[in-house]
Amino acid sequence: MDLYAELILDHYKNPRNFKELEKADIVFEDNNPLCGDKVKIFLKVENEQIKEVSFMGVGCAISIAASSMISEIVMNKTYEDVFKIDKNQVEKMMGAELSVSRVKCAMLGLSAIKKAIKILQNEK
């Protein structure tokens, strides 16, 4: 249960889907003022389903690694399934319990994806 285990450091140093997405259906930026973490989410969607996701950002190891992991998880998921992902699953995904102050770092990417989906739903 080590927060700075190999898996997290690997995702931090080599984040997956870390790029801008051309012709994204939505680009959404969010930040965590406590840490100064910033994340920009790019989504391509079709029929209430995520077809492609990427992100850019700066921040602590926890936020970058969590965004990287979550980008792999939400790929091809329906909106409904994305909304079902909660803190417990994020902790499971990271293989570590998160302290209250660090939960926000870990949830930043996921919460940005959810906010972006909500905007898409409202646009309809």
Partner: protein, 408 residues
């Protein structure tokens, strides 16, 4: 150092075991730990004479009133103020500053006036003035500090339009003690009121109003061994008389009819509602504790620790220090970064080693922006810290590097 070992016994939290050894507490700029003498004073009040002050005629209320007012006198003596009525109790430094901004500022700041702060300020000595300026159509000007603590643009910033100067005596983010001599001279010449934020400085150095003569001085009890919930606001009597109340309610009036109100005497006019009686009385115990320790000896101890920590941290190439490496202008705060590691990651790894440090922007974003940083790791010392604790910190920082860089 023998004295330090002895006085550490007074602090229960420093004896508690976190990860098989006592907590290493290096976040004293945020709040200090409390000795038994202060903690037991809180219990003593609630167990023996808990009652509201100033109003009742029964014995325990009178006892509480006397104890509360004795602390006001104690603070007046500590600061060498002329009159205890110049001491107002608030909840903390932030409330003290807001009280001035509302009760002095609303009445006396006009359109076109200028208020001056420095680039070293905590948000609490920046935002109330920014908001006041916006309400009044006044202008906020900023003194720029250099790395030696001198302000480089005094002549451009302080002038005839300056009505109030609000500056810190010591930066909470980097520990820098700015040179305020010229600011003071220019301010007096301009006829401006001067507010000194002593939240960081006073717990380490005390303050003598006989030597320096500001209109306002603010600080918090909890950063100098006292309980949370007590702030001190000193206002010079002549300035106090120019101020309207801030909060309206009980205790601050002598007579109320539907048409007219007579304000209570100073300082009660500014202490509406039930104050934190137990906390104020316990803050008195903290002042007694500090009084027993020679403050010069405490400063020497903190200087020793600061110099030692600089020496140890400087040995690590990957650590970049932001604070001034000179105890003449550094009051015992070291802000640094481990290269290529986010401060919050450093903080979390140190936490796992039982070491409490502060990470982030330290509520001083204007300064962080100027330094080109989003945040730092900050350690800050008080009288109970030891060199052994610094050694444990340095070893833990080496572990941070191992975690982040050694596996390739």
């Amino acid at each position: 150092m023998d004295q330090v070992k002895k006085l550490r016994n007074d602090f229960p939290i420093l004896k508690g075991k976190l990860i098989g050894r006592p907590l290493i507490y290096l976040d004293n700029a945020a709040t200090t730990q409390k000795p038994n003498q202060v903690i037991s004073k809180l219990c003593e009040f609630y167990e023996n004479y808990n009652s509201n002050i100033h109003r009742a005629v029964y014995a325990i209320s009178e006892e509480a009133t006397i104890a509360y007012e004795q602390v006001r006198t104690k603070i007046a003596d500590f600061l060498k103020a002329e009159d205890p009525a110049e001491i107002i109790f608030t909840r903390g430094t932030t409330e003290s500053i807001n009280l001035i901004a509302y009760s002095y500022g609303e009445k006396n700041i006009k359109k076109g006036d200028e208020i001056v702060v420095s680039d070293l300020e905590h948000h609490s000595n920046f935002l109330p003035w920014k908001a006041l300026c916006e309400r009044k159509g006044a202008k906020l000007k900023v003194l720029e500090s250099d790395e030696k603590g001198d302000f480089v643009n005094i002549k451009d910033v302080i002038g005839k339009k300056t009505k109030l100067i609000a500056v810190t005596l010591m930066s909470n983010a980097i520990g820098l003690i700015p040179n305020l001599k010229e600011v003071f001279e220019a301010g007096k010449k301009a006829g401006a009121k001067i507010l000194l934020d002593g939240a960081q400085y006073v717990p380490h150095f005390g303050f003598s109003l006989e030597e320096t003569d500001p209109d306002f001085l603010v600080f918090s009890g909890h950063k100098m061994l006292g309980p949370m919930g007590v702030g001190v606001l000193y206002v010079k009597m002549e300035t106090l008389e120019e101020m309207d109340p801030f909060l309206y309610g009980g205790e601050m009036v002598t007579e109320v009819t539907e048409k007219d109100v007579t304000w209570n005497d100073l300082p009660y006019k500014f202490e509406a509602g039930t104050p934190s009686v137990a906390d104020v009385i316990s803050f008195g115990a903290a002042l007694d504790y500090l009084d027993k320790i020679d403050m010069t000896e405490m400063q020497n101890h903190i200087n020793d620790l600061t110099e030692y920590a600089f020496k140890q941290l400087n040995k690590i190439d990957e650590i970049s220090i932001v604070s001034p490496d000179n105890t003449d202008i550094n009051g015992g705060v070291i802000a640094f970064n481990v290269d290529d590691v986010h401060p919050h990651d450093v903080g979390t790894i140190l936490d796992k080693e039982g070491i409490a440090v502060r990470t982030g922007h330290h509520c001083a974003q204007p300064l962080m922006n100027k330094l080109g940083l989003t945040g730092t790791v900050r350690i800050s010392f008080y009288l109970y810290n030891t060199k052994e604790e610094i050694e444990i910190l340095v070893n833990a920082l080496k572990k941070v590097q191992e975690i982040f860089f050694n596996e390739e």
